[in-house]
């Protein structure tokens, strides 16, 4: 068996373990409510959003429905992965794993893939449902490229939250600390980021919340690059020509790569040095 196959086999086992865990049974209804539920709501032909705006394309509906991913799926990613390392470490199983011939970097990659795929599989299924719902409600399919961007961007944001949580799990000896770190980070990027943006705008002398003010839009867009949720929305906005926040596409791609590579590298490095 090649190294790659071994990583994939180990990842599959970890994925299956989490996918059919009790916590997934608890979280799946929440995901169901958040992801297809939001797609159903935002694709209502009579919906009027704040400012009198009405979504007029399937991709726009999917963009608004992505709130379900930001609020629900990312939290589920945190809750699924918070004990991936800390529990094994506390029980002594990690010591047993570290003494196996499989290199630690490979074990770390398998952990990332296993935890990520455990949340990705149900989320993608529900995204597929959302696309069908949008088609049913609006009578129009989103384009293949729209779907591709939507699915891949969602996969990336889930990966980022899984990585943050795995990192926290590898540094903490108590599962409570790991989950606190994961939820805290989720809270920061999901709710508190707006406050940080406001504070930076205030300090920079930019008028806050003025959607017609180019300086505010630029500042908000720029700061969003430093938040995984912001990069996620930037990626989705590349398929919405009516939205222009003055951020070049390559900036978004570079930040998406940075959010992927940096925590992955940190986690692999951490696992290579971890003590049982």
């Amino acid at each position: 068996m090649s190294d790659f196959s071994r990583i994939m086999v180990f990842a599959k086992r970890l994925m299956r373990e989490r996918l059919f865990s009790t916590r997934m049974y608890i979280m799946f209804p929440i995901l169901l409510l958040f992801i297809p539920g939001m797609a159903w709501g935002f694709s209502d032909p009579n919906i009027v959003l704040p400012g009198g705006h009405q979504p007029d394309s399937p991709m726009e509906v999917l963009f608004y429905a992505s709130l379900g991913v930001v609020f629900g799926a990312t939290m589920c990613a945190v809750l699924l992965s918070y004990d991936s390392v800390s529990r094994e470490r506390a029980s002594g199983v990690l010591e047993l794993r570290l003494s196996q011939p499989m290199p630690r970097a490979h074990q770390a990659l398998a952990m990332i893939l296993g935890s990520w795929r455990a949340i990705l599989a149900p989320t993608w299924i529900l995204l597929l449902f959302s696309v069908v719902i949008v088609r049913y409600r609006m009578g129009e399919w989103p384009s293949m490229v729209d779907c591709l961007v939507y699915f891949l961007s969602t996969a990336l944001i889930l990966l980022w939250y899984v990585l943050f949580t795995l990192l926290a799990s590898s540094y903490t000896r108590e599962q409570g600390t790991a989950i606190s770190f994961g939820v805290g980070l989720w809270f920061l990027f999901t709710f508190l980021w707006a406050l940080i943006t406001t504070m930076v705008a205030y300090a920079s002398g930019v008028s806050i919340g003025q959607e017609n003010d180019a300086a505010w839009v630029m500042l908000e867009g720029g700061l969003d690059l430093f938040s995984p949720n912001g990069v996620y929305h930037h990626l989705l906005e590349t398929r919405l020509p009516q939205i222009d926040r003055g951020i070049a596409a390559w900036h978004i791609l570079v930040m998406a790569l940075a959010w992927t590579i940096l925590p992955s590298w940190l986690f692999v490095r951490r696992m290579e040095k971890i003590l049982p």
Binding site: M1, R6, V9, F10, R13, E17, S21, T22, A90, S91, G92, V93, E95, L96, R97, L98, S99, Q100, P101, M102, P103, Q107, Y171, T172, R173, E174, T177, L275, P276
Partner: protein, 341 residues
């Protein structure tokens, strides 16, 4: 002398400890650990690693298992090339490690838990079934980990350690939690493994239980190997002689009349009998005691035991070795604000 399969030379590992100061809250210092350990493992033998709490036994086993990196010194696979050092990855290929007290838990079955570890060392499912049978878990393959007793968990850990058909097996307190029958079966299993050429290192606090099964002994204290060899060799290294143990009924005789007082080790008077341990056998002593009408019930000449060797090596009394507090710092809690490393 059996072939040396693994040799540690000046192997050193010191734990990194947080020592925050006002201006350097991230400061770390090198704490205690293992200092310049020299050790040879012989093919098909059992080495007993004995030392008080915190002597560094677990740290040394983790170094030999390739879990903790050697900060100084080298590990050699003596069978191949005496000058070729082994990396941590090489060590993990030839070593099976049974950590102390793995608390298997969760809703996984016993078989799945072992399969998971088995996938990491590319072991077939038939071997896993065979190992489960070997450790006596064949009737528990579908039991959930949460349902296992401590003894069952120990057996599962042993099966995991044996997965990759290791040439060297490191066992950290393997008898913990095993019932007497399982412990006896475990010892028989160790014998079978050594017959196949597997070298075994056992770390245990239950030193007396080790005597019957180990071929060699290494005494550890404060991160150092104080003495290593066969029981006889270690006793000689520590200048410990055979002792004469005498028991009798009634009042203990005044041994100063029979032997020089320097040779006395101990005389204990019980309600109806007594026990004396002499540092050295005295010619004609038994005859003298019998002629004087002293009732002797037993007379035995014995080798110094492991506890006596440990006391002699560490220069401490039995009470000190068992309960020494300062030496537990060898395996420190790598804590930061209570819980984080």
């Amino acid at each position: 002398m059996e072939e040396v399969v693994l040799r540690l030379e000046d192997a050193t590992y010191r734990h990194s400890l947080y020592a925050p100061s006002a201006f350097k809250p991230w400061r770390r210092i090198r704490g205690q650990g293992i200092f310049s350990a020299n050790l040879s493992l012989h093919k098909g033998t059992i080495l007993g690693l004995v030392g008080p709490n915190g002597a560094g036994k677990t740290t040394l086993l983790r170094m030999m298992a390739g879990i903790l990196p050697l900060q100084e010194g080298s590990t050699y696979d003596s069978r191949k090339d005496s000058s070729a050092t082994l990396s941590d990855a090489n060590l993990r290929m030839i070593v099976g490690h049974m950590p102390e007290q793995v608390r298997w838990q969760g809703r996984k079955t016993v078989r799945n838990a072992l399969l998971e570890i088995g996938e990491m060392c590319q072991v077939s499912e038939s071997r896993i079934d065979g190992l489960l049978k070997l450790v006596g878990l064949q009737t528990r393959t579908d039991a959930l980990l949460n349902e296992l007793s401590q003894g069952m968990r120990q057996r599962l850990t042993l099966a995991a350690a044996l997965l990759g058909s290791p040439q060297i097996l490191l066992l950290d307190e393997p008898l913990n939690g095993l019932d007497p029958v399982a412990a006896a079966a475990f010892i028989v299993l160790l014998g079978k493994l050594t017959d196949k050429g597997v070298s075994i290192v056992i770390s245990s606090h239950q030193v007396e239980g080790l005597v019957g099964i180990i071929d060699r002994l290494a005494l550890m204290h404060r991160g150092q190997i104080l003495a290593e060899g066969t029981m006889l060799e270690v006793a000689q290294q520590l200048n410990l002689n055979k002792k004469t143990e005498i028991t009798g009924e009634g009042k203990a005789p005044d041994f100063s009349k029979y032997v020089s007082t320097a040779e006395f080790t101990e005389v204990e008077q019980f309600s109806e009998d007594w026990r004396a341990v002499l540092g050295k056998s005295e010619p004609g002593l038994l005859q003298k005691l019998v002629v004087d009408g002293i009732e002797i019930t037993s007379w035995a000449i014995r080798q110094p035991n492991v506890i006596e060797m440990l006391c002699a090596a560490t220069g401490q009394s039995i009470e000190d070795v068992g309960l020494e507090v300062t030496s537990t710092a060898v395996l420190p809690l790598r804590t930061f604000r209570g819980e984080e490393e």
